[in-house]
């Protein structure tokens, strides 16, 4: 039973990680707490739902298309909204602005899709894999694999590619990077695009395993915040570690203490981490953590 709970926790943690990495990146590089992050996650979920219902496209096949679309949305969001707010006012203004955007997106989703919950149910939605006594739903396995592959790809891009180095350089020393010829505005927009693309991917994975509705955006923003606090800002590894810890704590608490207590434990952990290690487990000196 413990092994089953552990596996369930890791699967849930994979979802938490993927849904938080974009939030972490934007916070780390731009220093912006994007309170519309959960709404971006839901846009991904609704896009997967629409493509599945209208075109019969499997959510996993639709993933690259959705990520591309979300990248463009995130890029435009930064150049038109966040940049405007941070230039003319302050980072706090960008927080209020993103909160306003979250409300607008939530209500737009209600208008377009109605407030009814939606779920993406591909043909394999009810199948499962068994390893000895451990059974896991196929969609959950798929969601976990998607999370691990995408997080690894993002980590590799940030570490080894030119654009990754530029993003890291900008995150560490914005002015120095600009003096070296880096187009800061473009890098910020690229980061925002990546953040939205990963939020969209998380939405697809979430849509595969659970029903969702517009008010859920708050839940995914709060989860991302907790994961980032646990794992550390600005790194995919931090998001992965934070997400997995949160997932396992969630299921273990539900199993050993009571199903009503995971949220209480999650926030207790958040407070402890803020007191003991405010930069998170794998925190760095990026903008958001300074």
């Amino acid at each position: 039973m413990t092994m089953q709970t552990l596996v369930d926790g890791l699967v849930l943690g994979g979802l938490f990680s993927l849904s938080a990495v974009g939030f972490s990146l934007l916070f780390g590089v731009l220093g912006v707490v994007n309170l519309s992050h959960g709404a971006f996650v839901l846009i991904g979920g609704y896009a997967a739902y629409t493509l599945h219902e209208k075109l019969g496209l499997d959510p996993l096949l639709a993933l690259p298309v959705i990520m591309l679309g979300m990248f463009c949305l995130g890029y435009a969001f930064q150049r038109s909204v966040i940049q405007w707010a941070t230039k003319r006012a302050s980072l706090l203004a960008s927080m209020l602005l993103t909160y306003g955007f979250a409300l607008m997106i939530r209500n737009a989703l209600v208008l377009i899709y109605s407030p009814d919950f939606k779920s993406v149910t591909p043909a394999y939605a009810f199948d499962s894999l068994s390893f000895g006594e451990v059974t896991v739903g196929l969609t959950r396995v798929a969601a976990l694999l998607v999370s691990i592959v995408l997080l690894a790809a993002l980590a590799a891009t940030l570490r080894y590619s030119n654009i990754g180095r530029t993003i890291r350089a900008t995150a560490q020393q914005e002015q120095a990077a600009a003096l070296c010829g880096v187009n800061i505005r473009h890098v910020f927009a690229l980061t925002s695009g990546l953040s939205a693309a990963f939020a969209g991917a998380a939405g697809v994975a979430i849509g595969l395993v659970m029903p969702f509705s517009p008010p859920d955006e708050t839940l995914w923003t709060v989860n991302a915040f907790v994961v980032v606090t646990l794992g550390g800002i600005g790194s995919p590894a931090g998001a992965l570690v934070g997400g997995l810890i949160l997932g396992v704590v969630n299921t273990m608490t539900a199993q050993l203490i009571g199903a009503a207590f995971p949220n209480a434990m999650m926030f207790l952990l958040l407070v402890l981490m803020l007191v003991v290690r405010p930069a998170g487990l794998l925190g760095n000196s990026f903008k958001g953590s300074r």
């Binding site: 089953q4 709970t5 849930l12 407030p115 059974t135 739903g137 029903p211 517009p214 009571g258 009503a260």
Partner: protein, 412 residues
């Protein structure tokens, strides 16, 4: 034409008087009974909120367009339902209700969700105005001594009495029953009332699990079912959480001979999401359009459903019917009182006992629905349709117990 002083004065007098006469004539033709309220059209409760909203609006449309309003004390009135979106927020709903009161509204309709109805009911009660509602069934509302708040449902702790009676007559008799309740006021009270009544009836209720209000993972519940193997799982959860539980049970291949999800399977969208796997699921069913209820205005439950479908795109749900019945109850009470005095209408609501499209409307002295006449029946999904299987008097199909296993459903 010769313009003397007298002609000018007459003309001016006529010019001033005519619009006033016109206004008087217009007011007589369009005199209205304003019924105010708020409903959640956005936010977490919006899904059912929309059903309630549509029920209110369907009844308003029917009375105004089909019956040319209602006649009270020799005068004809149009019904003017004025609803605000409270965004599922109790604080916002309270402000909106106060605004209605400030505007002089005399009759009220309730929002959806006990957490919203409770504070708004307190405001309306203080003002001494009646409120008909179909969205607040938490016991807290009916133990405050309120005299003006009436609900189409029995209080939560009494809603599952028929379900418990059904468990009592199951063959083979269940040896173990597990309850899972979401950690919100309504779901908890619903389960606690059923548990108390079930224990009184001698049912083997062995396990009680409390779930978070919003569930992102039901694996701990699935694991408990896997290890304890109950014959019955009764989950008092809202639609979205119910779907998550069902999906995880199916993909984990964990069977329960009787899976009862209080809310969810009554919705077509829920049954569509599960496809053939929804077969045999049990749920709380308050209304079925095929029920033989007669209504003094709509004709019958079926005629109401037909009228609704002609004019609204959204699927019909029992909250739609109960919403419409709130207006029907008001009209019956106003006619019986032969007055639009809120206190007299309130007194007639308290003693109302009429058959309607929603069933027999009768309230307890505390204002919640009579548990026998307005209580829930036991529903089951059979051949993709939501049927009533208990009590026998309301039955539209024979129940299936134990339900087929997931593996059998997978094979089709």
């Amino acid at each position: 034409m010769k313009l003397d002083r007298r002609t000018v004065l007459k003309s001016m007098g006529a010019a001033v008087a005519l619009p006033a006469i016109g206004r008087g004539a217009q007011a007589q033709a369009t005199e209205t009974i304003v019924i105010g309220g708020s409903v959640p059209l956005s936010g977490r409760a919006a899904e059912t909120g929309l059903n309630v909203n549509n029920g209110y609006l369907a009844a308003q449309k029917f009375f105004n367009e089909q019956l040319n309003g209602v006649e009270i004390d020799g005068k004809r009135y149009k019904i003017d339902v004025r609803l605000f979106d409270d965004a599922s927020d109790p604080a916002r709903a309270s402000t909106l209700i106060q605004r209605h009161l400030d505007d002089g509204v005399q009759f009220f309709l309730g929002s959806f969700g006990s957490n919203i109805v409770l504070p708004t009911a307190a405001i309306v009660e203080r003002a001494g105005k009646p409120m008909m509602q179909t969205g607040g069934a938490s016991d807290q509302i009916y133990t405050q001594g309120y005299k003006n708040i009436f609900c189409m449902f029995p209080r939560a702790s009494r809603q599952l009495y028929n379900t418990i009676e059904y468990f009592k007559v199951l063959q083979p008799a269940p040896k173990s029953i597990m309850f899972a309740m979401a950690n919100d006021a309504f779901s908890k009270t619903l389960a606690e009332g059923a548990i108390a009544f079930g224990k009184e009836k001698g049912l083997p209720i062995n396990d009680i699990v409390t779930l978070p209000e919003n569930i992102t993972d039901a694996s701990s519940l699935v694991n408990q079912i896997r290890s304890k193997k109950p014959d019955v799982l009764l989950a008092t959860t809202h639609d979205q959480n119910s779907l998550l539980i069902a999906r995880q049970l199916i993909s984990s291949n964990v069977d329960v001979p009787l899976l009862y999800l209080s809310l969810g399977p009554q919705l077509k969208s829920f049954r569509d999401a599960l496809g053939g796997y929804s077969e045999g699921l049990y749920f709380q069913q308050f209304w079925d359009e095929r029920s033989p209820y007669k209504d003094a205005f709509f004709g019958s439950a079926q005629k109401f459903a037909d009228y609704y479908r002609q004019h609204f795109k959204r699927d019909i749900a029992y909250h739609t019917a109960s919403g419409a019945a709130c207006i029907v109850a008001y009209v019956h009470a106003m006619k019986a009182a032969n007055s639009l005095d809120p206190a007299k209408v309130r007194d007639k609501l308290a003693t109302l006992d009429v058959e309607s499209l929603y069933g027999r409307i009768k309230f307890t002295p505390e204002g919640d629905g009579d548990p026998v006449h307005l209580g829930s029946t036991v529903g089951q999904v059979l051949k993709g349709t939501a049927e009533v299987v208990f009590p026998e008097a309301s039955r539209t199909a024979a129940p299936v117990f134990p339900a087929p296993k997931w593996a059998e459903k997978r094979r089709g």
